[in-house]
Symmetry: C2
Subunit: 370 residues, 2 copies
């Protein structure tokens, strides 16, 4: 046990770690809520262990990428019926995890699971029930819509896709206008991530139903205009995406939706790479946004911001398994410099979507208050 | 060659057939337009041959389900770099095809291709360029939106999902109200099929831009409330879905969108199983729909319809590789009986989405004329 503990401390592995490898496994496995219709596997138990079953009768080796990092994920064993089964060596963190399977050296998705765009590919996804899953559950409350729009982009010579969340009642309250949050995904993801993995629409529906927030619109578009391969981030140039967002998407949204089309009613937030984009664009274009949020996506320093009076909120967050000290100290520094800065640390989660679901839940009530 | 011809005539295999197995293959292969971002394979050439490449270094056998039916699809051969490659034995039909790969006896998706929901699973998809692909191309024209709605369904104790296409200008023309087409997918598909595979929104955008049709709304929801497994269709009971559609979805759409909420401005259409559903529901509930369309999904007989005066249009279609004679003779019989019946046969296509894309293109100008 001691050896394990040291190894684990050295790895910044988040959900891929095994917390208590020797604990008794409860045999109360149920199909993951993100399985394809009618599929029994993958399964998750009440402790957060995941169990996989893959049919590949003539394969020599089947592994799952989830599990203990550095040990090749979870190796499955072949059963007499030609299917391969295995259970993670320990519980996974609460929330959503990407994964894939490796069959005889080839990378494939689990035929039992739904797919989610991450790592520049559609990956399998699995959901570990969380103690706080109620805030992103599908409930019997009025639901907003998620609209796919195709907006003209001269700078990239195409029609680009965005998803627009309009709150419940948007179509009925024809005289109401709404603030807008521009919300960006992370590296390797796309404009589907915040609703599919993040459940942003359900988080909003539930908070609006409970009267916790005033309704606003969320716009999600693809934040990678140039490089989609590994390594592209090293030489990342924000200009093409900034042009799409500020010169093309925002005017389109303001012309086609009932927005309050001014700086004080426009926010930008992003996770991971989307945080990096948010930071750069809000610094470059302070006349467009008043509320900024970086989720596991870096920090602001007071000197980054030229005109403090234009910034209504800076929200910084990450998981407790990331670098919470950096987020906390940056927030303290911003507060000392007179900014309305708020930090949030998601307990027990890493650089994954549970951190960002919770971050949106914490951020939303703070937006457009003033 | 003669032996092939006989075998092919006996199989009702559509796109899975090989038209001219011995023709010279042009080496002008390009990535399929439905590949995942940055993926070079699968590829399609100008003749409609498809070429696949799958990395699985330690596998013993890799096959692709597309190819000559009854011969195990297309067998791939292992190259020195550990990847498996192969080309279909002949050209595929124009348009969209579902497929999967078989690796050492296990069924997986092609990591290079996007996934589409069909056969009660997310399958790989490949697009063979068609001579008439312009009508469903993404063009620089005003685009309508595709909205995901979650509507309350008491009968199934949940919020159910539908997609609603609203035409360009819907949000700007606040005084305009629109007719509605309820459009159903086929067996094993879901409410994503008509936009993802069918490109219904782009077909509409293009026709509206060219002035070929007057704008209308399209509503697409999941048509399988009970059985999702093979065999379920044998004992299919329309009642649960009819309740969802007529008692729950239609009132929700009429309350939340600017529809013309009467029988004469409401149409129902469906492909394959969705045609079967359309036929049954329009016969059961003639007070709701005035325009009926069955695409590769059966026919009406004059005696099916109690009150002829309520029916403004009956549209019947299928691919030339299905049973065009049945569609044509049923249409003739309906015409003789005094119905406004129209048939359409998609040349060179089978029970696949190219037939249904074209069917929608032919149907749309006929809707809501009177």
């Amino acid at each position: 046990m001691k050896y394990y503990a040291i190894v684990l401390a050295l790895l910044s592995c988040g959900s891929l770690c095994v917390a208590q490898p020797s604990q008794q496994i409860s045999e109360d496995f149920k199909p993951s809520t993100l399985n394809q219709p009618g599929q029994e596997y993958p399964q998750v138990n009440s402790q957060g262990y995941a169990r996989f079953k893959i049919l590949a009768p003539q394969a020599d080796s089947v592994r799952v990428s989830l599990g203990l990092r550095g040990r090749g994920g979870t190796k499955l064993s072949k059963g007499e019926d030609g299917s391969w089964m295995g259970t993670t060596a320990g519980p996974l963190d609460e929330g959503f995890h990407y994964y894939h399977i490796i069959v005889d050296g080839g990378k494939f998705n689990d035929p039992g699971a739904l797919n989610f765009y991450g790592s520049v590919r559609w990956e399998s996804g699995i959901e570990v029930p969380a103690h706080d899953q109620d805030f992103y559950a599908l409930k019997d409350v009025p639901h907003g819509n998620v609209q796919q729009i195709l907006f003209p982009s001269k700078s990239t010579h195409t029609s680009r896709r965005a998803f627009v969340y309009t709150p419940p009642g948007y179509d009925k309250n024809q005289s109401t206008r709404y603030p807008v949050l521009y919300l960006q995904h992370g590296w390797g993801e796309d404009e589907t991530a915040w609703t599919n993995q993040g459940r942003a629409n359900l988080i909003m529906d539930n908070m609006i139903a409970e009267g916790k927030i005033k309704p606003f619109i969320i716009v999600m578009t693809y934040g990678m205009t140039n490089e989609i391969k590994f390594g592209g981030l090293r030489n990342f140039d924000i200009t093409p995406f900034q042009t799409v967002l500020v010169d093309e998407l925002i005017p389109y949204v303001d012309a086609n939706f009932r927005t309050i089309a001014d700086q004080s009613h426009r926010a930008m937030a992003g996770l991971s790479m989307g945080g990096m984009e948010t930071r750069t664009i809000t610094i470059n274009k302070p006349e467009f946004f008043s509320h900024y949020a970086l989720m596991s996506g870096g920090v602001y320093k007071p000197e980054d911001i030229k005109d403090k009076s234009k910034v209504k909120l800076i929200f910084l967050s990450c998981g407790s398994k990331e670098r919470p000290d950096g987020v906390k100290s940056a927030t303290a520094t911003l507060k000392e410099a007179g900014f309305n800065a708020v930090s949030y640390i998601s307990e027990g989660t890493a650089h994954e979507f549970q951190t960002w679901r919770r971050s949106l839940y914490e951020l939303a009530p703070l937006l457009f208050k003033n």
